[in-house]
């Protein structure tokens, strides 16, 4: 199904390193023909076919490259990365040996061993793009070849941890969208930055070629179905483009006048002062407690290593327990540290968040210590999710995620915008994915009763049980009873707000559902992403005349629910979005009334 208004037409032009892209050491257009000593042109020119010539119509495949090694600089990074795990054993050996010459020999042996191991790993690991596959070969003990069909590559992440950045190398992670069952993801940890950019261009170029092929097949099948949409045109463009090495021949803009004029466009760079909004999201707020727990754990571990008696640590804990004032002070300090630590962690991870549009991809880059860049194929983006917590709504800020098909770990990787003012989120997301759907229709008043009941009743029940226990056993039970009562009271505004959040809408192309209060989330999903419907009704919902409508979507969290709709309203909503699926199943009488 091709939606006439499908947003970004596939770029007809070949990829290659994007002109103007800051790729270290490579002239913008020099990639294919430029000074690559390796001779492997990323996507081969049409003339350069191999003997086993593909039939006409099949896009030419690139020449096989000779196998390549990672940058020798990994000989530095690998042992250094192993240091933390080596440190304790080494320290243990030195301590146990009483710093005798023998113990130093053993320690040195360990260090040299790790370097030799790294060298062996480096020498025996090769990778190459062969035909339509990426082959990762490891021949350390036994020879293993991991083959990743380029067709299946959906995204390439380039990240540069601090040490890597110092040495000018990068880690490349290849996302094949494989689910949990067959882990086929590949990693190239330690290629030069230039090589990383080249590989990324090559790998993603194939993803686009596949896209074009499919679009062409689709266009051929549907045969001029959608005049406005681009598949036919795009496919044609690709047809010629496929044969031309990327970068050679006219620039994308020349060949395809409409659409994005620039190959790369920065959609938004988040000003640093907005990092202050971070703690409002509640992210990383528990950091101080995690750090404290980590410190206790380390104390125990090092205790054994450094021969500090474990009992000393325990007795220190007991001593602390014996001084409640101190304990409370520590807790207060930890609580006070929450926003600060949360802000610091948030800033470290979201430093200079930049969202770019590039050649059919959205690229999100962020991070202070480790610079992380995630490429989302635009063709796979089906919508977005806008999330606002309570504090965030009070401050007028929000976050947004892209809903992408076949993206694993989408919670961390699909992020389009961290915590920034709501208007900006809507602006940027509107440009990158699509505008938000407004005019949500409210759910029936019975839904308010249910939200209230669910927010209040469990705590009332707990309070009641605790009160019974208090009167039967000990007055100590009054404490939990009072706490539960207070929570039940808080449940009233919470339930009311949850009801206010409920809403659904369909604007003819995209549907939208919203729910939640402490974490309010609105999903906007294109109609074509819906793969099925599920309507559920518990016996309580039946008594209230409500049901929950879940749109199955092959992206993001898999399903987006409109909670507690009216019965007729819910069926009508599903029938409104996908009339041809439900038409014959809606009861005749209801069809008249619901229109």
């Amino acid at each position: 199904m091709i939606d006439p208004a499908e947003p970004p037409p596939l770029r007809p032009a070949p990829a290659g390193p994007v002109p103007g892209e800051p790729s270290e050491g490579l002239p913008p257009e020099g990639l294919p023909s430029g000074g690559r000593p390796l001779g492997g042109l990323p996507p081969g020119p049409p003339g350069g076919q191999r003997p086993g010539l593909p039939p006409p119509g099949v896009p030419p495949e690139p020449l096989p490259e000779p196998p390549l090694r990672l940058s020798p600089k990994v000989l530095l990074t690998d042992p250094i990365r192993m240091l933390p795990s080596l440190f304790l054993p080494l320290a243990g050996v030195l301590f146990l040996g009483g710093f005798s010459p023998g113990s130093f020999v053993w320690a040195a042996f360990g260090v040299v061993g790790s370097v030799v191991y790294a060298a062996l790993r480096w020498a025996t690991f090769t990778y190459r793009v062969a035909g339509d596959r990426l082959e990762l070969t490891r021949a350390l003990v036994s020879r293993s070849v991991r083959t990743i069909p380029l067709e299946r590559i959906r995204g390439v992440d380039v990240s540069t941890p601090p040490l890597h950045r110092l040495l000018g190398i990068a880690a490349l992670r290849i996302d094949t969208g494989a689910g949990g069952e067959d882990k086929q993801e590949g990693e190239l940890d330690g290629v030069t930055v230039a090589e990383a950019e080249r590989l990324k261009a090559v790998l993603l170029w194939h993803a686009r070629a596949r896209t074009a092929r499919r679009a062409r097949a689709e266009a051929a099948r549907e045969d001029g179905a959608a005049p406005v949409s681009s598949p036919a045109g795009t496919a044609g463009g690709h047809g010629t483009a496929l044969g031309v090495p990327p970068g050679a021949g006219g620039s994308p803009a020349e060949r395809h006048g409409a659409g994005e004029a620039t190959p790369e466009r920065v959609l938004f760079v988040i000003p640093r002062r907005w990092l202050a909004y971070g703690p409002l999201s509640g992210a990383y707020l528990l950091t101080p407690f995690a750090l404290a727990a980590g410190a206790v754990g380390v104390a125990f571990q090092w205790g054994t290593e450094l021969r500090i008696d474990g009992r000393a640590v325990v007795s220190a804990g007991e001593w602390l327990w014996g001084h409640p004032a101190l304990l409370v002070a520590v807790l207060v300090a930890l609580v006070l540290a929450m926003p600060v630590a949360g802000a610091v962690m948030y800033a470290v991870f979201n430093w200079d968040f930049t969202l770019r549009a590039r050649e059919g991809y959205l690229v999100a880059e962020r991070g202070l210590m480790t610079r992380r860049s995630v490429s989302l194929e635009r063709r796979r983006i089906r919508g977005f999710e806008l999330v606002e917590g309570v504090a965030e709504r009070w401050a007028g800020v929000a976050r947004a995620w892209a809903i992408v098909t076949g993206l694993g770990d989408s919670q961390t990787r699909g992020q389009l915008m961290p915590v920034v003012p709501r208007a900006v989120v809507l602006d940027v997301v509107g440009e990158a994915v699509g505008p938000i759907v407004t005019g949500l229709r409210a759910h029936p008043p019975a839904a308010r009763g249910r939200r209230l009941f669910r927010a209040v009743f469990p705590w009332l029940a707990v309070a009641g049980c605790a009160a019974v226990a208090a009167s039967v056993w000990s007055p100590l039970w009054w404490a939990p009873a009072v706490v539960a009562l207070l929570l039940a009271a808080v449940g009233v505004p919470l339930g009311l707000d949850r009801y206010r959040s409920l809403g659904h809408s369909y604007d003819g192309r995209r549907l939208s559902v919203r729910s939640g209060s402490l974490r309010r989330s609105q999903a906007v999903v294109e109609k074509r992403a819906v793969v099925g419907w599920k309507l559920t009704q518990t016996c309580f919902q039946r008594r209230a005349g409500l049901l929950t409508v879940i749109a199955g979507v092959g992206a993001g969290s898999g399903g987006y629910a409109a909670i507690d709709m009216g019965e007729a309203e819910g069926v009508a909503f599903a029938a409104e979005v996908t009339p041809d699926w439900l038409a014959s199943f809606v009861a005749a009488e209801a069809a008249e009334t619901a229109g």
Binding site: P445, G532, K534, Q537, T538, G552, E567, A568, F585, V586
Partner: protein
């Protein structure tokens, strides 16, 4: 607040009922969807009876053992009246589970129905809670036909229809084996014809 939490007039009541299933028919609700055309196999009642009775027996037996343990050991941290009345536990468990195990299969048989028409699979399932699923054939990724031990003994089968989303997938249980085979086959064939990207 003007609303009543349980607010529901009895609305359309039996008017919208679709007569086919009869008095306790789920179609009587005000959900304006007609019943799917096909009932499942009657043998599914036997299947569910067997399964549910087995579960009820296992859980009742477990609670019986727990009661005997507590009665024998009389742990000091339990308030005194717990061991005194512990023998009510297996009695209560059995009194709840066995009637439920007998009611559920018949109730389920009235609710569970399915239909494959207009290139959409429409299935209804559940008993106390209900679920209606609509899966268009063009979005189907896999069709599985499965048989457990009891199902094999009774000549029944389950058809699992999967799409790219768990929320868009559906499972039809308690079909006669031949019916399941024909359904799975025709779904697979039609899905092949209609295949688009399916995501």
């Amino acid at each position: 607040m003007s609303d009543q939490p349980g607010g529901h007039g009895d609305g359309t009541g039996g008017a919208a009922a679709v007569a086919r299933v009869g008095e306790r028919a789920p179609g009587r609700g005000r959900v304006p969807l007609r019943d799917p055309a096909n009932p499942i196999s009657r043998k599914a009642i036997v299947l569910w009876l067997l399964e549910q009775l087995l579960w009820a027996a296992v859980l009742s037996g477990g609670s019986f053992l727990l009661a005997r343990w507590i009665d024998g050991d009389r742990w000091s941290w339990l308030p005194g009246w717990v061991p005194d009345h512990i023998w009510w536990l297996p009695v209560a468990v059995a009194a709840i589970l066995f009637p439920a195990a007998i009611v559920e299969p018949f109730w389920r048989y009235a609710v569970h129905r399915w239909e494959f028409g207009d290139d959409v699979v429409y299935a209804r399932s559940g008993w106390v809670s209900r679920e209606w699923a609509f899966v268009p054939v063009s979005r189907i990724q896999t069709v599985d036909k499965a048989q457990g031990w009891f199902e094999r003994a009774l000549g029944l089968a389950t058809v699992e229809i999967r799409t790219a989303s768990h929320a868009g997938s559906s499972t039809i249980r308690g079909l006669d084996y031949e019916v399941a085979a024909v359904l799975a086959e025709s779904l697979a064939r039609r899905a092949e014809e209609l295949r688009d990207d399916a995501t």
